[in-house]
Amino acid sequence: MKRSNFLIGALSGLSVVGTTDHILAKALAQSPLPGLPAASDRVLVVINFQGGNDGLNTVVPFANPDYYRYRPSLGIPANDVLRIDDQVGLNPALGPFKKLYDAGNVAIVQGVGYPDPDHSHFRSTEIWQTAEPKGYASTGWIGRYLDDAGLPKDNLFNGVALANVLPELMIAQRTDVPAIDALRGYGLTSDKNGANREAFHQFVSDATVPFRSPYLAHVAEIEDHAQRGAEELPKLVAGYKPEATYPATPLGRSLALAAQIVGSRLGTRVIYVQHGSFDTHVTQKQTQDRLLADFANAIAAFYADLSAHGNANRVLTMTFSEFGRRVAENASRGTDHGEAAPVFLIGGGVKGGVYGTHPDLGRLAMGNLAYTTDFRSVYATVLERWLARPSTAIVGGSFPTIAALA
């Protein structure tokens, strides 16, 4: 493990706790970092890099000649890489993100994956979202957290998905998670008419129907959530004024809304955001550069906004992608579906640095990077050290945590 300088609250210019002392780092890992909020006030933002982001061209092993051998046209020249140390550096499109890294607010976990990798987008996404690489789970890992964390049952916003379809990650058994594409257009089209709104409200809770159904109460409850949630959310977040300029992209808009939800203190514990598509089979550079630059600009604006409202230490952001990509570039200046890739942990509670071991480019598994960190270790870290919940039942086993969080 490596640690670089880190700094807490750098964005708001508060305090600096910089050191490379490993002993001090260890000591800090045992107790919460100063200035961190109680677990009940913390939020996890999960960003899904959809389509399979190429990890090798995100965190670039520029000192390894094999990298350039496998990537004759796609390899990023060592001089262009935003260097982290003498081995790896970030894609040059990640400039604003590199500043967060330099401020000590980013942990990079290398080589994250799972056993017996599946190269299908669909299946691999499902594995990442359910944390179940062998069988088929009906709930997501965040869904199981929301079900079991003892959160207030009457809060409609314990978890919020900023997407037009509820992701598997947030499917729960006892927690109804709203999926919101954007505040505008969210809700019942009929609610524009006051009489309709009132009538709808009465009808969906019609409990004295002349039939019995095991689902009746459930239907009425969810209908009520749907209407009330759509009605209340815009009002609840209306008082929040963003203090940063977000890129005018879907990711920028999602993170702006995420900051608004965090800042409005709705008791939300997890927010899901998606970004993509990274499925770069053909002429990868232009697509990936655009998406990484968008990510870097949006995440920098997000933390600047959070900082300005005193929320930077309340929010941990975790990225993931269903897989990394094939080590050798293909004949179309793109890359095909691969396996292990790095995961980012971002926020004021993060101990910045590079964690885990970079997969060995000299020992590929059928042309792919073999994982060195089980993805459930990352989840266990987030669950135990950020959300303060036991992880074993949620991720289906006992996995070691990573010292990247306080």
Partner: protein, 506 residues
């Protein structure tokens, strides 16, 4: 890194078995109680998608037994479009898919050829998928044999395949035709056909199951999810049966269609020991042996009951249906005839005891309002409701039941219902609405709406509210029902009727 592996915790889930007690002694005996539109509509929601008010009327005018018979014996469907308009996939230029040799960059010509091919291929797949989804939904809406389509949907969610691994639309459509052909056919024969179906061979990797490197994916899912269920076989049975399936693969024609190919050269001819028997088994023998297991009949009985009758059926009921399946040699038609005619099927416990699937909801709404065509926005709505035809979420199929219900899916359902009610064409296509408009009487209109759409499954309080809504309560302008506002008000009232809980329940 991983230290211990344990299955993901299955949090205690609420049971959605109906309240009350099963009368096991009379459960499968023919129903002989009162017969009315309410029960005819129940039958049509389960053995179809709800039907039009005229369909309900027609079934209500028969005896229960004749009504079931009219659904079980499929009427001629030759007037329906036989196949979706599928485009042939673009042909693959030679040589564009090899990897660049280490140290060698790709040349521009190869890059642009590959780019062009992949773009054409993706567009072709997208158009074909939309064509197939639209075709199937419109067929479900229009068919005079709704149970045939309902069974095809059942099998689609049971023997799952998707385009995910590069299966062509032509191959998926062939599988869909198989499900329709075997809708109420022999389950064992269907299982054998599915085991040789190109879309399935690809989806569960049997096309790479060869003697030297057996791939267990199909063998495992065949037993775990398709026929027996966990606990009724061992890991050794999976390994042995995977060997029996070696060499079962398919060939793809340039037009995108596939055909089964038994590659004897890749088949393991050795002796296998499977579920207690030994021999030089092939895949056919494995299917035979599986269908000799009592667990197999119970597995299908449970699935059929949960799909057609109610969730979490009692073990005694499962055993009775399982015995029926075995007695009939897995011929489904007589089994479904008994089940759909039975006391348990028409009992209060089964009534409105299922959640409509998104397909039930959308197709049923089309039938109710007489709208034959499906537009692309509806495919997007179905996705947001959680069901994409030809794209089951995984090999387990759709979970169904309470998994259909969350705020996101219900908002989409309600907004879909509102869009249908507000569609200008609705007032002419839904021929049963026009006469109510003329009455200009809130009471009559409310009765007509709740009676036709919900068979009166609404509380008197809600009916009173609907009457006062129609009469103008809470409306800003033109409060009393009049020629100026009746159209708009009835549309909204129809929408609000669809918002009542009964409309979500099958």
């Amino acid at each position: 890194m991983p230290t211990t592996a344990a299955p993901v915790s299955a949090s205690a889930s609420a049971s959605f078995r109906p309240a009350g007690t099963l009368d096991a002694s009379r459960a499968l005996a023919p129903y002989a109680g009162p017969w009315n539109r309410r029960l005819a509509a129940h039958l049509l929601r389960r053995a179809g998608f709800g039907g039009s008010p005229a369909d309900v009327e027609r079934l209500a005018s028969m005896s229960p037994s004749d009504a079931v018979a009219s659904l079980i014996r499929f009427p001629d469907t030759s007037s329906l479009p036989a196949a979706p308009p599928l485009e042939t996939p673009p042909s693959r230029p030679l040589g564009i898919f090899r990897n660049a040799a280490p140290g060698m960059a790709a040349d521009d010509a190869t890059v642009s050829a590959r780019k062009a091919f992949q773009m054409a291929n993706n567009q072709n797949r997208r158009r074909n998928l939309i064509a197939m989804q639209t075709w199937w939904l419109e067929r479900m809406i229009a068919t005079p044999a709704p149970l045939q389509e309902k069974m095809a949907l059942f099998w689609h969610g049971h023997f799952t395949s998707s385009p995910e691994k590069g299966t062509t639309a032509q191959e998926l459509f062939a599988q869909n035709r198989l499900f329709r052909e075997y809708a109420l056919g022999n389950v064992k024969q269907l299982t054998l056909h599915v085991s040789q179906d190109p879309a399935m061979l690809r989806y569960l990797d049997n096309n790479v199951n060869v003697k030297a490197h057996p791939n267990e994916n199909y063998a495992r899912e065949l037993m775990e999810l398709f026929t027996l269920g966990i606990g009724n076989y061992t890991e050794q049975d999976i390994r042995e049966s995977a060997r029996a399936f070696t060499g079962w693969t398919f060939r793809r024609e340039p037009d995108g269609s596939g055909s089964f190919f038994d590659n004897r050269g890749q088949h393991d001819d050795g002796t296998k020991t499977f579920l207690g028997r030994s021999g030089t088994f092939t895949g056919t023998d494995v299917v035979d042996i599986i269908f000799g297991q009592p667990a197999c009949a119970r597995f299908f009985a449970t699935k059929l009951l949960a799909f057609f009758v109610y969730n979490d059926p009692e073990p005694q009921l499962v055993d009775q249906v399982a015995a029926l399946l075995r007695k009939n040699g897995y011929e489904l038609q007589p089994v479904m005839a008994t089940l759909l005619r039975s006391n348990v099927f028409f009992s209060d416990r089964a009534y409105r005891a299922l959640v409509k699937s998104p397909v039930d909801f959308v197709v049923g709404t089309h039938q109710l309002f007489g709208v034959p065509k499906v537009v692309p926005q509806e495919l997007a709505a179905l996705r947001a409701m959680g069901q994409v035809l030809f794209y089951p979420p995984n090999v387990k199929g759709w979970d169904g039941g309470s998994a259909w219900l969350n705020s996101q899916t219900l908002l989409t359902r309600e907004n879909f219902a509102n869009a249908v009610a507000q569609n200008p064409a609705t007032m002419t296509t839904a021929t049963w609405i026009a006469p109510t408009l003329k009455t200009m009487d809130p009471r009559q209109i409310a009765f007509q709406l709740t009676d036709t759409m919900l068979q009166g499954d609404v509380s008197s309080a809600a009916t009173a509210q609907l009457v006062s809504y129609l009469g103008g309560a809470g409306q800003v302008a033109l409060s009393q029902l009049s020629y100026e506002n009746v159209d708009e008000r009835v549309r909204s009232a129809a929408y609000l009727t669809m918002a009542m809980p009964a409309y979500q329940l099958a």
